[in-house]
């Protein structure tokens, strides 16, 4: 079964956009999460990442990331509550602990931990959406002019790690199929065999790359890919969100204070930014159109709605 975070091509705007646009869009959400500590803004950023992922069809990735992010946030809240005893409102006294000394759980430490946890969760969800919706090959291809060898190495790693994992699965299956009477195979022999197989494969891959001329200078791009029609949308949303966040931050509207008492600012600028950030999650929304769209052979078709959109998406996937 494929990992929920593995990239799946789908005819959705986020997948069809160029990697730069998708990274800028998701990166803007993460930057907002790191710029602000106000839980309201962080919740808005989290909502944007979740909605973007759902609209991009990465439901499983979002669900897993939300679960993992929630667990991580909970861990951060608990650790912060135990380690930091600052804050005026003592919720519980847990006595003397080894290493930690006197542990007082304060409401302020819980809220501060929640703020940090939310930031981590937002980052995880955005990363999951990126992983599930942005084609890694396209990312590496776009990096190739900048760092050819690194891009090639990253491509090989991203290809060979799953192959090695599959090898390990096959070896385990083979050892089990020898029957209950056979001596158990330890982890060390399994790892040795896996390493030997990986080295063999590495030699084969190196020979293949040599034969294909990878040792020579990189050929000039034969056909430059045209930009996706969704790029402008994602770049515009990213720019707008970042500009608004920086402006609001410069105005001093990040009015969140955890210590000595919790103060969560609800200034109009903060509320407006939260709404804007939350709405930015709708950027990957597919526009339903009733227009008659031309098909590749130049004829017109009466297909419209989801079917038309799906086909259009497929064409874009093919073009990409």
């Amino acid at each position: 079964m494929k990992s929920p975070f593995a990239y799946r091509p789908r005819p959705r705007p986020l997948q069809l956009a160029s990697p730069g646009a998708a990274v800028a869009y998701l990166g803007a959400i993460v930057v907002v999460a790191f710029l602000f500590s106000n839980p309201l803004v962080l919740l808005a950023a989290g909502a944007a990442a979740v909605v973007a992922g759902l609209l991009a069809g990465a439901r499983r990735a979002v669900w897993f990331a939300v679960k993992m992010g929630f667990a991580l946030a909970l861990l951060i809240v608990v650790v912060n509550a135990l380690v930091v005893d600052r804050g005026a409102t003592v919720v519980a006294r847990l006595g003397e602990w080894p290493l930690l000394g006197r542990v007082d759980v304060t409401f302020e430490a819980l809220v501060a931990g929640l703020s940090s946890g939310l930031r981590a969760a937002v980052t995880m969800v955005a990363a999951a959406v990126y992983s599930a919706c942005v084609d890694p090959d396209r990312v590496l291809r776009s990096l190739r002019p900048l760092a050819r060898r690194s891009a090639l190495t990253a491509t090989l790693v991203s290809r060979l790690v799953p192959v090695a994992a599959a090898d390990a699965g096959r070896l385990r299956d083979a050892s089990r199929l020898r029957g209950p009477g056979a001596a158990p195979v330890g982890k060390a022999p399994l790892a040795r065999r896996l390493l030997a197989g990986s080295l063999d494969r590495a030699v084969d891959v190196a020979a293949t790359l040599e034969l294909r001329g990878y040792s020579l200078d990189a050929p000039r791009a034969r056909n430059r890919r045209s930009r996706s029609r969704y790029d402008r949308r994602f770049y515009a949303v990213a720019t707008f969100v970042l500009a608004a966040a920086i402006a609001v931050k410069a105005l001093g509207a990040d009015d969140f204070q955890a210590y000595p008492t919790v103060e969560i600012g609800l200034a109009p600028e903060t509320l407006a930014l939260s709404a804007l950030v939350a709405l930015s999650g709708l950027a990957p929304l597919r526009r339903k159109t009733n227009r008659r769209s031309p098909v590749a052979d130049g004829t017109k078709t009466s297909l419209c709605g989801p079917e038309s959109s799906r086909r259009q998406g497929e064409r874009e996937v093919a073009r990409v």
Binding site: V84, D85, R86, G87, A88, T89, V90, V91, A92, R93, L94, G95, E96, R102, D104, E108, A112, Q257, A258, Y259, P260, T261
Partner: protein, 314 residues
């Protein structure tokens, strides 16, 4: 199951666990001042709870803001750290007259302490290890809940030593005999003898070393007036008051006494009751009370008049 739960609850309660801030442990006297105690801002008693710290006591009584994750006081009653006239100003606190080794958020209170916050210029030094302004603390209640024996070291102080013992007795402090290893010491005597103590001698190195804004300078030699003095000639030491910048501001002469507190290498505070002459030492010893010392870092006693140190910079 019920018995196990009851036992667990009892164990937790015994270990100081529970919900909320805990029971009352007594009052904490909170004083907030500015300019080395010269400008009073707040004076109140706060009922402390089991889980209270210096920061929580302050937060409960004054409007404050913090920095660095709540561990550092940025402002009290709107007076914030910063630069004034090119000099750095910050909030410093003392618990029972002793500079805390930990931050306000970590400094626990147990009830009965005197917490003093002061906003001051720290261009000369940011480290004043002990102050006299919380008298009779630390002799009356100890430091951080631990009581120490109190020793009066009479270094040629004569009758002044008796005055100091009497002042301590009036506050209910019992003076220990002998030389206990860890003790709160009060050195009493003329400067030329008191300065033999390494902690006291730090005063000559300036406020950055001792935290005391005073200096005792030698003048022309004259016949020793101190009984038991080994030298034939002694130098009358003249008390010089320093300003906030640590610069000499006013010479108070050899007849002015000094009451100051310092400490060496983070050890227990050492109080010094001294002066250039026996009369000066006696005058300083007679001023050992709350009326003369309250909310001052150190004081000079000049012909019966209390001169808080440091002097205000011109």
């Amino acid at each position: 199951m019920a018995v196990a739960s009851a036992l667990l609850c009892a164990a937790l309660a015994t270990a100081g666990c529970g919900l909320g801030p805990g029971a009352d442990v007594g009052d904490v006297r909170l004083t907030v001042t500015r300019e080395y105690g010269a400008v009073p801002v707040l004076e109140t008693a706060v009922e402390a709870k089991e889980s209270d710290t210096v920061m929580r006591v302050l937060e409960g009584a004054a409007e404050i803001s913090t920095r660095y994750g709540g561990g550092f006081v940025h402002s009290i009653e709107g007076v914030a750290e910063g630069q004034r006239g090119g000099d750095p100003y910050d909030w410093f606190f003392y618990v029972d007259g002793v500079e805390s080794q930990v931050g306000a958020a970590e400094s626990e209170v147990a009830g009965g302490e005197r917490v003093w916050w002061d906003y001051r210029n720290w261009a000369a030094t940011n480290h004043v290890p002990a102050v006299v302004g919380s008298w009779p603390a630390p002799f009356s209640d100890g430091i951080e809940g631990e009581r120490y024996p109190v020793v009066v070291e009479c270094d040629g102080g004569g009758g002044a030593c008796g005055e100091v013992r009497a002042a301590l007795a009036r506050e209910g402090v019992k003076v220990a005999n002998g030389e206990p290893e860890k003790a709160l010491r009060i050195l009493v005597g003329p400067w030329e003898q008191v300065r033999d103590d390494p902690a006291a001698r730090a005063i000559e190195a300036g406020p950055a070393e001792s935290g005391v804004f005073a200096d005792l300078l030698s003048t022309s030699p004259r016949a020793s007036t101190y009984p038991g003095h080994s030298r034939g000639l002694a130098e009358a030491d003249e008390l010089v008051a320093l300003d906030e910048a640590g610069e000499p501001a006013e010479s108070l002469g050899s007849d002015a006494g000094l009451i100051a507190a310092t400490s060496r290498y983070g050890g227990l505070p050492v109080w010094i009751v001294t002066g250039g002459t026996a009369a000066a030492v006696g005058e300083a010893a007679r001023s050992l009370d709350a009326e003369h010392l309250r909310d001052h870092y150190a004081v000079a006693i000049d012909h019966g008049k209390t001169v808080p140190l440091p002097l205000e910079a011109p």
